[in-house]
């Protein structure tokens, strides 16, 4: 309905084409750009940045969150600085990051990594801390050693929380990417949009937004499917 109204408004001239083009024009532009491979190249570059940033930030967060969650020493050493750093909006670090890592590819990846780090760190930490101490005790009376308790109790117990962190991290990754790709990028969806703005190609700008939305939607959906498969036990009550 909304799209239909939008189409009608654009067709009748109620909406000026340079302000907001008709959805059919946006789709046509999308088709044109994917035919000549432009969209594919930019999309791939954006995805690579998001993937690399998520991997680096996520792994770091997982390791530090686990150390802080499991060990008292780790909690004392790691958690206070992370809590302080959390107060900084990470996108505000762009000027500092430009000085540190330049304006190249590492800037975009650092921004994504920073955005992904905090949600995963906090949810790993909280996931481990929320595990019922009584379950750990019961596992001990069953003769499980430290490593086995980590594998059978701590990891599965923290998994729901980890999934939540990952979903938030992916959202933060796309957000960081939008900002990062507007700083001296030569490729990427963000660059495509910035370039189109220069030439007042509103259809390409709207297409870029559409791609961002779709990327967010698809990644969230994929994660939900994965979550449903790995956390069947939580649906146990509904399954019967």
């Amino acid at each position: 309905m909304l799209v239909l109204g939008w189409e009608l408004a654009a067709r009748t001239g109620l909406l000026a084409a340079e302000k907001l083009p008709a959805p059919s024009d946006v789709l046509a532009t999308g088709w044109r750009l994917s035919r000549d491979g432009t969209l594919g190249i930019h999309l791939l570059d954006s995805l690579t940045r998001a993937g690399a940033g998520l991997l680096i930030g996520g792994l770091l967060a997982l390791v530090l969150g686990t150390v802080a969650g499991l060990l008292r020493l780790g909690d004392d050493l790691v958690d206070p600085p992370v809590q302080m750093a959390r107060m900084l909006p990470h996108l505000g670090l762009v000027p500092l990051l430009i000085i540190w890592v330049g304006i190249g590819e590492s800037l975009k990846i650092s921004l994504v990594a920073l955005g992904a780090f905090f949600p995963i760190y906090f949810n790993t930490y909280a996931g481990i801390r929320d595990i019922d101490e009584r379950l750990v005790e019961a596992a001990r009376t069953c003769g499980l050693g430290q490593a086995a308790r980590l594998r059978h109790v701590v990891l599965p117990g923290a998994l729901p929380s980890l999934f939540l962190g990952l979903r938030l991290a992916i959202g933060a990754a796309w957000l960081s990417l939008v900002v990062g790709e507007q700083v001296n990028a030569q490729t990427g969806i963000g660059f495509l949009m910035m370039e189109a703005r220069e030439f007042s190609q509103t259809d390409v700008v709207v297409l870029g937004l559409l791609v961002y939305a779709l990327l967010g939607l698809i990644s969230d959906l994929a994660l939900r499917v994965l979550e449903r498969r790995m956390l069947t036990w939580r649906r146990g009550l509904r399954a019967t």
Partner: protein, 243 residues
Amino acid sequence: MASRTAGHLSSTAPVLSAQAVRRAFGPTVVLAGVDLTIARGEVVALLGGSGSGKSTLLRILAGLDREASGMSVVHGTAAVVFQEHRLLPWKRVAENVGLGLTGADGPGRIRRALAEVGLAERHRAWPAELSGGQAQRVAVARALVREPDLLLLDEPFGALDALTRLRMQILLRRLRAEHGFAALLVTHDVEEALLLADRILLLDEGRIAAELPVDLGPTRTPDDPAFGALRRHLLDRLGVPTT
């Protein structure tokens, strides 16, 4: 706290011996030196009001409390059943029973243990799908599958409804007759203690205040006049008026 598990078994040695077990939480002394021995195959009930330290004592004997002082030795293997079932929600029933199980024929032993508590057909269920009584039976199976010489039971039926509790008491009596394990049953339920135990210990103010053998035979019921007399005596000791 010297807590250890001795590997060697001899038929005459007690399955559990504890001496001068003390535990304080800050200035509050919960256990003020408890001595306790349990013979092979003997079921001992530990009775006491809430806050008398009976669960604390059981945790110490199970090796779950490192801050206590004193000595406790289990000759053989011990398994614990807690008041809550404490099953891992992310493992199916059979996996929960087999948690940490070593040795040959794991699946067969798990199947037999589940059959003994009447839940053979629920081996694929998630803990969240079980009723309270069923979950507690799985917890009993998880203890049984280890073929323990000593079963430590911390108010194992305290969270169940009255009917389920009666069924569980009968089940435990049957399992004990079949396996001959010794047990320490922590409870605040006088009838439960009288139904299941060979000997009752009263814990009061951090010490064993009284010891009472229960000579009621294996097929005891609360209708037995001797049962009633013992029950009145115990309630008296616990400070509960019976008239």
